[in-house]
Every structure is written in structure tokens, then in C-alpha cells.
């Protein structure tokens, strides 16, 4: 790789479970800009079984679109010379199901939860959490370990100087299970111990014959302290050493890249943290993929990530249907849908995961499923993104069993910015659709900015930051982050049509005033790059951020959608009556100009397609 100072061009790929995405970044007049993007299906399965085939296919698309030669002799040309090749190549990966970790701790809501946060923060999927209070018998825990075949096991437990015996007991269970690694039958399963320092030696003795043990600093050295860095770092190291090295084609890919391959969620997480830190914001980020949905948040400087392993838009879309229920998906459609047809369509998407909606009806149905996937993933995030449990009161382990949960750190009224990423949000034909999906799923309150990853390139920029923070930051703000605008949403409930909020906006020299009744949405134009001072006067019973009925004045930023006034109330409840609900959804779509024409969408979903014949 050329020196960071001298980087003229960078190629970055993200090998997702469904699609491999490649972006070409070039330095133009001293500024790094996105040049083109290409994509191709990920190739970790037959007939290819080599991730680099998909990488080369995606890069070939970049070649075709940019007219620049990037591949020679089956590899990426480096360094850049005579207009060919690039100076650096980096990649992230979540293909092969990502990094699958099993967490073992003592108390589910304390050390086990800290361990879970460490694993999630490292970009892992947590397959299960075993703890003394998980309600299972030992043989059930052992069976679970054998059945799941994780990529690695993270054992925590005990504050330093505290409980030892129970920690060793859990380690003995791991040894008794003798779990085999998911990939690579010949190597020992990696196990990380990040618990009580006093338990290190007995844990080592318990596991020496059955696992490749690494010991790192206790992730919960005291009740009041959570130190996730060392465990996170070790998880990522093992991800490279073991998981990546065993996945089809990865050893070759690792030989091509100029920086370690990062797990996709870790790359996105580091980018979200950077945004929050740089601008001092409370941020929620979401990356909705084919198999999983990751939610990231930074509130008051505390970073959290959760991954919903079986909520996604292709491989896992049937699980969204199973978890949310068909009714909850149907409720977001501006039509009277045919449940049988929708159920079958969702299953067909699961078995042909790389297909994309071709009709408006199909698009609306996927957007409906996305709302539910996002909503469920966010619910899971709220449950894990909490204050440290066990801190407030002096108590021992026994006291913690069944103790009331700690306060969630997620405060929707304090939230400043929501950033959406992932195919269904980044590729929504109209940006308004992405804004509406995020508002419906997350229900922001008060004043909240919305943005999307323009073409789903946050993963690549996250890993790019490891070799050039300057290039990553420049491209992120100039080409990646698309400001959608700002959402104003008073919290509270009222009667449909009753007064809810009055908003006065003064963009530039002009002034606009609008009263929005309860149950309605409105859109005020406020373009990208523009800011305006708004005065929000909620009626009694509604809170826009300063308390019920109190006026809020704020400087809001525009975007490609504008200023959205959402007077549907919080919590958001759709009308129970189907006809009323459909009419309401159509009004909201019209108010935001979200879809081309509801009648057409209706026709697309219900009209008779060509008869299917046997071929």
C-alpha cells in the first residue's frame, strides 16, 4: 500500500451475506470522492465457494462503470499506475453468517450481559447466552453448546476478587460439552476468558484439553465498571485468525487487502461512534441486511450495538413474518391485501434472496416487512442498551436474580439523529420511503434529524478509516450520508382531527406556519444544506421536548425530503378499522409524496399477472 498521504485511489468492498459491494474512491483536487459503485452476488456457495469470485465480479462492474482497469491476472492491480489499478484495497465481511459467538456468564443481567455487549460491539452475532439464571439444566446447556457450533465462546463471570467457584463451574460445562467449531473441523474451538482474575488458573485447567483458551482482562472488574475493550479486541483478532481463515476464499482475500478484514458491523459501529463523537450527538444507527439487522446507539457518549440475528429482508424475512405476525405486516399496506399471496411472496423472497421488487405492490410489501423488522430489532436494542445493572445498590449475586431491569439508555426525546443503512433503506426508490420506514419503526419524539447511507457504503468507509481517516470522513460527509431532513413528532395521544401542533418555520427570509391536526402528517420544503428556525407549539397533552404543552424553538436542518411534521402521536397507533387505516396510510403517503400512486400499487398487488406455465 502507498503511504496514507499519497493515496490517490482506494477500492473497498463489503462481502455481505447476499451481495458483495465495491466502491471506488478517488482523490480529485485534494478531496476524496466516491467515483462509482458496483455489486454482485456473494459467492461463498457452490459452484464458486470462493468469496473472491464475488469480489472480482463486483469490481468488474466498477471497471465497466468507471472505464478504469482494476483487475489483472485474477487479482486487483496495485499500486495505481498509468490510470490503472488503485493504491489501496480494503474489505469488510459478514458473509458466511458473520462471526457467531456464544456467551457464558454468571448472572444474565450482569456479567453475561456485559459479555454480550462486548461480543456485539466486536461485530459478532450472539447465538445464545448461558448463565446460572437462564433457567436451563446443565445437560440442556451442554446440548445447546454442541448443537449451535459457535465460532468462539466468550466466558465472563465474577468481579475481580469475587465469585470464583461458579465461574469455574461454567468453564467445566464448556469443557464437558467439547463443542466443535462451525468452520474448520480440525482446529480447536477458540474460547476467551474475560472474568474474575482469581479464576484464571482453574479455568485454564478446566479447559486446557478441550479448547484453545485465551485470557484477557475482566470485562466487569467491578460492579460499577465495564471494560469491554480487551475482550472486543481479542474477539476481532480471533475472527481473523480462525473464522476468516476457514471461510471459503478468505485466506486469498486476506492476502489482497491492505488492512485486516473487519466484521461488517464493527466497521459500521465505528463509523456511528465517530459521527456521535464529532458532533456531540445522540445517534441511533441501523443496518438492515438480508440475514440480520444491526442497531447501534450512542446516548450520552455510551455506545451500544445489538444484532437481531434472524431479522432481515431476504434470508430472514420469513422470520420477520413469524415473529411479527402477518397482521402486523399487513397493517402498513395502503391496500386490502390478500394474506395468502403476501405470505407466499414473503416465503419466495426467503428462498430466492437476491431478487428485488419489480412491481409497486411488491415494493410496498417489502417496505411493510422492513418496518416490522426494524421495529422488532429496535425493541431488542432498547432491552440491551441499558445502564450497568447491579450498580445502584450494594447487593450480591443472589440479590440480582430476578432484580428489576435497569433504565434503558435509549431516550427517543433526547435522540438527535437516526442514520439508516442497508439495502431496503439505501435503495428505496424515493428517499421519502426510507424516512417514513424509519419514523414508523423507531417512532422518534420531539425534533430528530434523519439520514440514510446513500448507497449502502458505511461498512466500506468504516474499514477505510483504519488506513485513512481523512478519506473515510470526506467521503462519508460528501457522498455517503444523505440528509433526509428533520422529523418533528410531539409525544402524546389525542382524538383524530383534534388540534395537535402548530409549527412556524423561518427559512432564509420567509416564514411558513402550519397547524397539523392529530393523526396527520405534513411535509414542509427545506432543502439539503438549508437550516431554519422553527417554533413548535404543541397543544396541551403533547410534548415536543420541553414538556406537555410547552413551546420548543429549534434550529432544524433540511434534506432531500424536507421537514416532516408527524402529528400521529406517540406511541404510534394505527387505526384498528381496516378501511380507516388504509385511508390514513394513503393520506400520509400523499402528504409526503411517498409512492407514485396508490391505485397503481393496489393494481400491482392485486392485478392478475400472467398465468404461470410449466416450462
Amino acid at each position: 500500500m502507498a503511504d496514507e498521504q499519497a493515496l490517490r485511489s482506494i477500492l473497498a468492498t463489503d462481502c455481505g451475506s447476499t451481495t458483495t459491494k465495491a466502491i471506488l474512491i478517488e482523490a480529485v483536487d485534494g478531496e476524496y470522492r466516491l467515483r462509482v459503485r458496483g455489486e454482485a452476488p456473494t459467492t461463498v456457495e457452490a459452484p464458486h465457494e470462493d468469496v473472491t469470485a464475488g469480489v472480482l465480479n463486483a469490481v468488474r462492474e466498477v471497471e465497466e462503470l468507471s472505464g478504469r482497469a482494476l483487475i489483472r491476472d485474477g487479482t486487483i492491480i496495485r499500486p495505481q499506475q498509468d490510470g490503472e489499478g488503485v493504491d489501496a484495497y480494503v474489505s469488510t465481511s459478514s458473509a458466511g453468517g458473520g462471526l457467531q459467538v456464544m456467551v457464558v456468564g454468571l448472572v444474565r443481567s450482569m456479567t453475561a450481559e456485559s459479555a454480550q455487549r462486548a461480543a456485539l460491539g466486536a461485530g459478532a452475532i450472539v447465538m445464545d447466552v448461558l448463565a446460572l439464571d437462564d433457567g436451563r439444566r446443565d445437560y440442556e446447556r451442554i446440548e445447546r453448546m454442541r448443537e449451535l457450533r459457535p465460532d468462539l465462546i466468550l466466558i465472563s463471570g465474577g468481579v475481580d476478587g469475587g465469585e470464583t467457584r461458579k465461574v469455574v463451574e461454567m468453564a467445566e460445562l464448556v469443557a464437558a460439552a467439547n463443542p466443535q467449531a462451525r468452520l474448520g473441523e480440525k482446529y480447536e474451538l477458540p474460547v476467551i476468558f474475560a472474568g474474575n482474575v482469581d479464576a484464571r488458573e482453574p479455568v485454564r485447567a478446566a479447559l486446557e484439553r478441550s479448547a484453545a483458551l485465551t485470557v484477557v482482562d475482566n470485562l466487569r472488574p467491578t460492579m460499577e465498571q465495564e471494560r469491554l475493550g480487551p475482550a472486543r479486541g481479542e474477539i476481532q483478532e480471533l475472527f481473523l485468525q480462525h473464522v476468516m481463515a476457514q471461510a471459503p476464499g478468505y485466506p486469498k482475500l486476506m492476502g489482497w487487502t491492505d488492512a485486516d478484514i473487519m466484521p461488517t458491523p464493527a466497521a459500521v459501529g465505528s463509523l456511528i461512534e465517530t459521527i456521535a463523537r464529532r458532533d456531540g450527538l445522540n445517534v441511533v444507527g441501523v443496518d438492515i441486511g438480508g440475514a440480520t439487522t444491526d442497531v447501534f446507539s450512542v446516548f450520552g457518549g455510551t455506545f451500544n450495538r445489538t444484532v437481531s440475528a434472524n431479522l432481515g429482508m431476504s434470508y430472514s424475512i420469513s422470520n420477520v413474518l413469524a415473529e411479527a405476525g402477518l397482521e402486523n405486516i399487513l397493517r402498513w399496506l395502503a391496500i386490502r391485501p390478500d394474506p395468502r399471496r403476501l405470505g407466499n411472496d414473503i416465503r419466495n423472497k426467503m428462498i430466492r434472496p437476491t431478487t428485488i421488487p419489480q412491481t409497486l405492490g411488491d415494493l410496498a410489501a417489502e417496505h411493510a416487512a422492513a418496518r416490522e423488522a426494524l421495529r422488532l430489532a429496535f425493541e431488542q436494542h432498547r432491552l440491551l442498551a441499558t445502564e450497568l445493572k447491579g450498580v445502584q445498590r450494594q447487593r450480591d449475586i443472589a440479590d440480582a436474580f430476578g432484580a428489576a431491569g435497569a433504565q434503558s439508555l435509549v431516550d427517543m426525546m433526547a435522540l438527535d439523529l437516526i442514520v439508516g443503512s442497508g439495502g431496503v433503506l439505501s435503495h428505496a426508490p424515493r428517499r421519502t420511503q426510507a424516512a417514513l420506514m424509519m419514523i414508523d419503526a423507531f417512532e422518534p419524539e420531539g425534533v430528530t434529524r434523519l439520514a440514510v447511507d446513500s448507497i449502502f457504503m458505511m461498512p466500506q468507509l468504516g474499514v477505510l478509516a483504519t488506513i485513512s481517516e481523512e478519506a473515510a470522513t470526506q467521503v462519508f460527509y460528501r457522498d455517503c450520508l444523505i440528509p433526509l431532513g428533520t422529523c418533528i413528532a410531539p409525544a402524546g395521544r389525542g382524538r383524530p382531527g383534534s388540534r395537535c401542533v402548530r409549527v412556524a418555520m423561518r427559512p432564509g427570509g420567509g416564514a411558513v406556519e402550519m397547524a397539523v391536526p392529530f393523526g396527520e402528517m405534513r411535509l414542509l420544503p427545506l432543502a439539503e444544506g438549508e437550516t431554519a428556525r422553527v417554533t413548535i407549539e404543541p397543544t396541551r397533552g403533547f410534548d415536543a421536548g420541553a414538556g406537555r404543552g410547552r413551546t420548543v424553538t429549534a434550529d432544524v436542518q433540511g434534506g432531500v425530503v424536507g421537514l416532516i411534521i408527524d402529528a400521529r402521536g406517540r406511541p404510534l397507533r394505527l387505526p384498528d378499522d381496516a378501511a380507516e387505516r388504509i385511508e390514513a396510510i394513503r393520506r400520509w403517503h400523499r402528504a409526503l409524496d411517498a409512492y407514485p400512486d396508490d391505485a397503481e400499487a393496489d393494481e400491482a398487488l392485486h392485478g392478475d399477472g400472467p398465468e404461470v406455465v410449466a416450462t
Partner: protein, 378 residues
């Protein structure tokens, strides 16, 4: 501008009369291989077996004897690795000249796995669990690796499905339907279906599957099913397409998917031509990395196989036969007439890379997202 070829779009499912089929039969742990290279084996023939370690049950001996963990090893009556019977006394303590007597018993029959002086726990491992693996297909043993892996090979017809449930089974092929779009109804199931792999055509109903399981059919292969019927048959909603472990009484292979979709004619005819022949079926599916497709295999030991076809799976090109795999043309065959390089808007307003294809039935040329094409391997 039009690109001559493009790369890596959805490879079609394999449906071929002439395949070289190899299947790896691997034990979960090393054990005993019962065949040698060159042996002719039948589908039901045992090729390898082993014993898995039994389940582990713990006994908190320190607690039961009211002693400290470090005293446990000295009070054990059986050492690590020694066999024990259920209810057998494995540790004993006496205090005050035998006045207070405490014992700990083995919860199951097995062997003492570990005795911990840190936790005071004793782990007892139950009796080994026997695992036997058959050949799955009528074939020849071509590889034996150590004491855990056998590779069997045959030539013959192979039809991959898109989704299946249930595991491996074998039996004679029996046609239920006479056309690939015929509804696969319960009335078609009769006693003669026992032990057979039943070939339907169009959508299969829940009642048909239940009747097939009741009569003892080895498997059902058909075009499609309604999602609610599949959930009912499984007893729970199918969340992700990772299957094969279900115990349903009969295995199911869907060649097309969900809804009223007929079986592809080529698949139907391939199976119909082999009506009555011995075949193997496996519903196991994994639509994730390391993809596994359900399959029907009809061995024909003397058949030739097409090496070129084995290598197929390349790119799209003008003239390529394809199948459209998304509404509004789901299931239709077509031929690529143009591969425009520039992005084009489709009815959803999304701008994507498309292929222009001529629909085989009407001759109409339509633009379809390349992602919604499946290559038909000729």
C-alpha cells in the same frame, strides 16, 4: 452500450439426466467404517458407525456431603474414568465416628468424567449414543478417509429443489400427477404409495402431505406449497430456510417455491421418465452461506455424464436461456436479447441493471432486473 457478458447472477438449480454424483458420508466423530473402496453399496446399506459421548449430568458432591470442594476428591469412591450405575453411591463422608453419614449417588449410568476440587462438582457422562450412517444412494465407494469418512459415487439423474424439509430417504419413484401444473391432492395417495418417493406437479396441499406421511411414503417432490400449509405440516412457522432435521414421516422437496407454481416441465419429465426406478431424496436445505439444496437422485450406473455441465454456472450472455424468478413474470422462461450496461428505471422507480428478455410464451420483450433472472443450465 451493451456488455457482451456479465457475471455471477443467480445460478439455476441443477436438473440433469447425466450427472456424476458424489456424496460424502461423514461420522460426527471417528468410529468404524464398514466398507472399502470399490464396494457396490445400496442406499440403505450401513457404511459407517460410531458412538457419540453420552450426555453429561453434574452432581454437586460438595453440597450433598456438606464439605468443602477441596475435600471432594478424597471422599470419592469412584475415580475419573470409572463406570458407575444409576443410583450407585459415588462419594461418602462420615463424621463424629460415623454418627453423621452422607452420601452422593450417580444420577445416571455412565462414567465419572471429572472431579473438581474447585467447584466440588462431579460430572457423570451417560452411555454413548450410537450413530449409524447409510450410503444414502445406490453407488460405489470411491474414497475411505480414516475411520470417519466414506465417499460414494454414482452416475444418473439429479434434480435439485429450491426448498425441502425432512432428511434423507429412498424408495421407488411413483408419479402422482400427469401434468406439471396438476394440483397434488390427497385423493391421489393410496396404499401403493408406501415407501415410494411421490412425484406431484403443481401445488401440494396439507392434506396430501399428511396422507403421504400416514401411508409411509418416503418423500414427496412437487412444484410448490402454500406457506400456511407448510407451517401446519411442520407444526411451527418456518423462520429461516435451514432444514433437514425435521421428523415428519415423509420428506418434502419443492422444486419452485410457494403459491400456485407448477413444476418446471423439464424437471417433471425427467422424473416421469424414471417412474418406478429406485431413487433417493433429501429435503435438507440451507439458504445461507454453504448453501445446501434439497435433491432427488436417480442412479443410473452405466450412464455417461457431462463434464462440461458440471463446470456450468458462468455468466449471463445475449442468447442465454433464463427463468424469471419474481413477479410479475414469476416462473416464465425467456431468452436474453440485450444486456444494457446503464442503469434503467423499473416500475418501482428503482434504477437497476436490467436484462431485456424475450418471453418464450408470448414473444414479448421485457426489461427485467438482472437480479430477478435465474440461468437455465442447458
Amino acid at each position: 452500450m451493451t456488455a457482451a457478458t456479465t457475471h455471477g447472477y443467480t445460478p439455476g438449480l441443477r436438473v440433469t439426466e447425466r450427472a456424476l454424483i458424489r456424496r460424502v458420508r461423514r461420522l460426527p466423530l471417528p468410529g468404524h467404517v464398514h466398507v472399502q473402496v470399490g464396494h457396490e453399496v445400496t442406499a440403505e446399506q450401513l457404511v459407517a458407525s460410531t458412538e457419540l459421548p453420552g450426555n453429561v449430568v453434574n452432581v454437586n458432591v460438595a453440597h450433598e456431603l456438606s464439605i468443602t470442594p477441596e475435600d471432594v476428591p478424597a471422599l470419592m469412591l469412584e475415580g475419573e474414568g470409572e463406570p458407575v450405575e444409576a443410583r450407585q453411591i459415588i462419594a461418602e463422608s462420615r463424621a463424629f465416628w460415623g454418627l453423621f453419614h452422607s452420601i452422593a449417588r450417580a444420577p445416571i449410568t455412565g462414567t465419572v468424567e471429572t472431579i473438581s476440587d474447585v467447584t466440588g462438582q462431579v460430572l457423570v457422562r451417560g452411555r454413548p449414543i450410537s450413530v449409524e450412517i447409510d450410503a444414502y444412494i445406490d453407488a460405489t465407494v470411491v474414497v475411505v478417509q480414516g475411520d470417519e469418512t466414506v465417499v460414494v459415487e454414482t452416475r444418473g439423474a439429479l434434480a435439485q429443489g429450491i426448498l425441502g424439509v425432512g432428511g434423507e430417504a429412498h424408495g421407488r419413484l411413483k408419479m402422482l400427477c400427469s401434468e406439471p401444473d396438476e394440483l397434488c391432492q390427497a385423493e391421489l395417495i393410496e396404499d401403493a404409495c408406501r415407501d415410494c418417493i411421490l412425484v406431484g406437479g403443481g401445488r401440494v396441499t396439507l392434506e396430501t402431505l399428511q396422507a403421504a406421511a400416514e401411508v409411509g411414503a418416503a418423500g414427496v417432490v412437487t412444484g410448490a406449497i402454500d406457506d400456511t400449509d407448510l407451517d401446519e405440516f411442520l407444526g411451527a412457522p418456518l423462520g429461516v430456510a435451514i432444514t433437514g432435521q425435521e421428523n415428519l414421516g415423509t420428506s418434502l422437496v419443492l422444486t419452485e417455491g410457494f403459491g400456485d407454481t407448477p413444476m418446471r416441465r423439464r424437471t417433471f419429465e425427467l422424473l416421469a421418465e424414471r417412474d418406478g426406478r429406485r431413487a433417493s431424496v433429501n429435503g435438507a436445505t440451507q439458504i445461507r452461506a454453504g448453501v445446501i439444496r434439497p435433491e432427488v437422485i436417480v442412479p443410473e450406473p452405466g450412464a455417461t455424464w457431462d463434464a462440461a455441465e458440471e463446470q456450468a454456472g458462468g455468466g449471463l450472455a445475449v442468447g442465454s436461456p433464463v427463468r424469471l424468478i419474481r413477479r410479475p413474470h414469476f416462473g416464465l422462461p425467456a431468452e436474453i436479447t440485450e444486456l444494457p450496461e446503464r442503469l434503467e428505471a423499473i416500475p418501482t422507480e428503482a434504477e437497476v441493471r436490467v436484462a431485456r428478455v424475450r418471453l418464450e410464451d408470448t414473444g414479448e420483450v421485457v426489461a427485467v432486473p438482472r437480479a430477478n433472472l435465474e440461468i437455465i443450465v442447458q
